[in-house]
């Protein structure tokens, strides 16, 4: 090229190699957990949007819930809440197990978590079928169904993730104390779903 003021060595392609960079090259770091965390920021913003809408209705409408809305029964959802919160702890035992390379521990604890999650969903379906209002009854009813339904969708996804982990853990050595991204991701997701439920429960049932 033309005579450049820039030291040609600066712009030319330069090959180099060194101990440090060789380890970097190819087997690059695992950023997947970081990615999952970033994804959960986005997820929580959807819930935040829905919660805020709910709060605006609650604070601007003169009557909330609108006249004629039947009282929500607290017993079943209360049990469901306790169930879901405990499942987070149960699940954590699974992760602790795999950190000690204990695959069967992982299977047991994750299996229990899956059961508890399924129970939660069953409870919710039961609650839905015994409510005295439907999706379009009034604004409160619609908000109730959209919020709990959207959350229920997330529980379902979380449950599928747990089942996927269980499925994969059949193969020996798929998860180990060193490599268990799937376990961690499923767990983080489940905790997220759990935290969202606590806020949702407080907003919709208690406030």
């Amino acid at each position: 090229m033309q005579s450049s003021t820039i030291d040609p060595s600066k712009t030319a392609l330069n090959y180099h190699n060194s101990e440090e960079t060789v380890t970097q090259h190819g087997a690059h770091h695992d950023f997947r957990m970081f990615g999952v965390a970033v994804f959960l920021i986005a997820e929580s913003m959807i819930f935040l949007g829905l919660f805020t809408a709910f709060l605006i209705y609650k604070s601007t409408l003169p009557e909330w819930p609108p006249a004629g809305t039947p009282e929500l029964d607290l017993l079943l959802p209360g049990i469901n809440t306790i169930n879901l919160i405990s499942s987070s702890f149960v699940m954590h035992k699974g992760q602790s197990a795999i950190k000690k390379n204990d695959i069967s521990g992982l299977k047991i604890w994750f299996g229990i978590t899956a059961l508890m999650g399924a129970l939660f969903l069953v409870g919710q379906v039961y609650e839905y079928s015994h409510l005295e209002f439907g999706l379009t009854t009034n604004l409160f009813a619609s908000s109730f169904f959209v919020l709990t339904g959207f959350h229920g969708l997330h529980v379902t996804v979380g449950l599928l993730l747990i089942l996927a982990v269980l499925w994969r853990s059949r193969k020996a050595n798929h998860y180990s104390s060193a490599e268990h991204f799937g376990v961690e991701a499923a767990e983080l997701y489940w905790h997220f779903v759990d935290v969202v439920w606590i806020i949702l429960f407080a907003l919709v049932y208690l406030l």
Partner: protein, 560 residues
Amino acid sequence: MSTQATESLLTKDSGQGKEPKQRVWQDYFTFNTDHKVIGIQYMVTSFVFYFIGGALAGGIRTELATPASDFVDPETYNRLFTMHGTIMIFFWIIPAGAAFANYLIPLMIGAEDMAFPRLNAVAFWMVPPGSLLLLSSFFFGAPESGWTSYPPLSLISSKVGEGIWIFSLLVIGTSSILGAINFLTTILKMRIPTMGIYQMPLFCWSMIATSALVLIATPVLAAALILLSFDLIVGTNFFNPAGGGDPVVYQHMFWFYSHPAVYIMILPFFGAISEILPVHARKPIFGYRAIAYSSLAIAFLGLIVWAHHMFSSGTPGWLRMFFMITTMVIAVPTGIKVFSWCATIWGGKISFNSSMLFAMGFISAFLIGGLSGVMLASVPFDIHVHDTYFVVAHLHYVLFGGSVLGLFAGFYHWYPKVTGRMINETLGKIHFFLTFIGLNITFLPMHQLGLLGMNRRVALYDPKFQTLNIICTVGAYIMAVSTLPFIINVLWSLKRGAKAGRNPWRALTLEWQTSSPPAIENFAEEPILWSEPYEYGIDSYSIDSDQQVEAILAEVKADV
């Protein structure tokens, strides 16, 4: 500093030289995980939608050449601008930003690919279905309630089209969230070890800000659209006052996304401009850190100003005042950028190639849009001009004069890197002057139209506005013509352009250290950070020029 640190890394030769495979055209139509392929896929797709959106704009302007609705009927007119706005924003500017980000980020930070290549491909492959879905609405009655889609109107007009619009936006929104996860992880985690955060090219800084906005704001749009779709399809009443709902809640949720969205649309191009100016002016960027942090400041402020789109809607007085002040403050970080760019080119040795012309056109036109933006932020004034052509003028100056001119500047700048060929400068300059002149003829008179009393989104208007409208229409046709030299140039240069070589602009950022087009895994070997990204003229004077830095400084000052 860093230069030295990297040089010490330079040791023995590499042992494993991979034979780079060549790309074949089929790669571009498949699920390919190479970020460069994905970048090109994004770019080509978005250009297709630019022409579609532009043709719709042609329809709009043709209709508005006369005060009566004679070219299309009013209903069709509403569909035209709804689709025009939606396509231009969601399928042209936002994917085009993602195109640059995909292509450039790994190259600029010396990585092989994105952090999550497969996720990246998934994100891209949501765009074609999403966009085709939107286009399909033309067969079922396209949506006709504007790109803002305010209920209750959007709940009662063109229901099928509206439903399609919602789902199309949900798809493209998910796509941009997935993209943002990738950009953020890649930039934060995958820089070559010697590249500290302040050695990063400014484009990466702007993409951090953009991605943060996407992650925080887009999900709220999704929430709004989910509720809207329930109202539309199931018959709930979240936003429908007839059933006790509140349409203003939708407006808040919509603008909580769509105001940040305007910065999602401009920040990548702010970044591109910060790359382009130093290279072609042969001067370091002026105020690196100020520019870097102003992107973050804009992103942060962008999240707390949304209600300035609702000054004459359902917002009480005190809220209007709050949002007025936060909105005005955005002028400060943006001003830092504009002034720093001016200082960057001042005293430089500027090559006026197509890229640089577009970059300077960008500053010039964006300035006009920014100044009218600050006017709009003033509540008493906005009450007069809200929903008039003054707003239309503002939004095109920032979106066309800003984003689109910035996009073309970046396009011409990185074309040699992407294709390995130089662009034809004559055609490029014709393209620039036609676009720039057309842009001003089209959008400048719109300010006056709005002030005088022409509202937007109307097919029928008061005949006293016809003269100005005809001028706008002529300008739009000039812009339509301006795309011809562009298309010819791109296609012709692809085959016949002069070979570009590795670094035709003698630029310092890492993407220029590899071959053009870059090899499949970007760098045959780990690239070296020889210097900071913009150190033009720093240590070369002692070698090539007998002038001392002080002498040059003195000369510039004397001439001022």
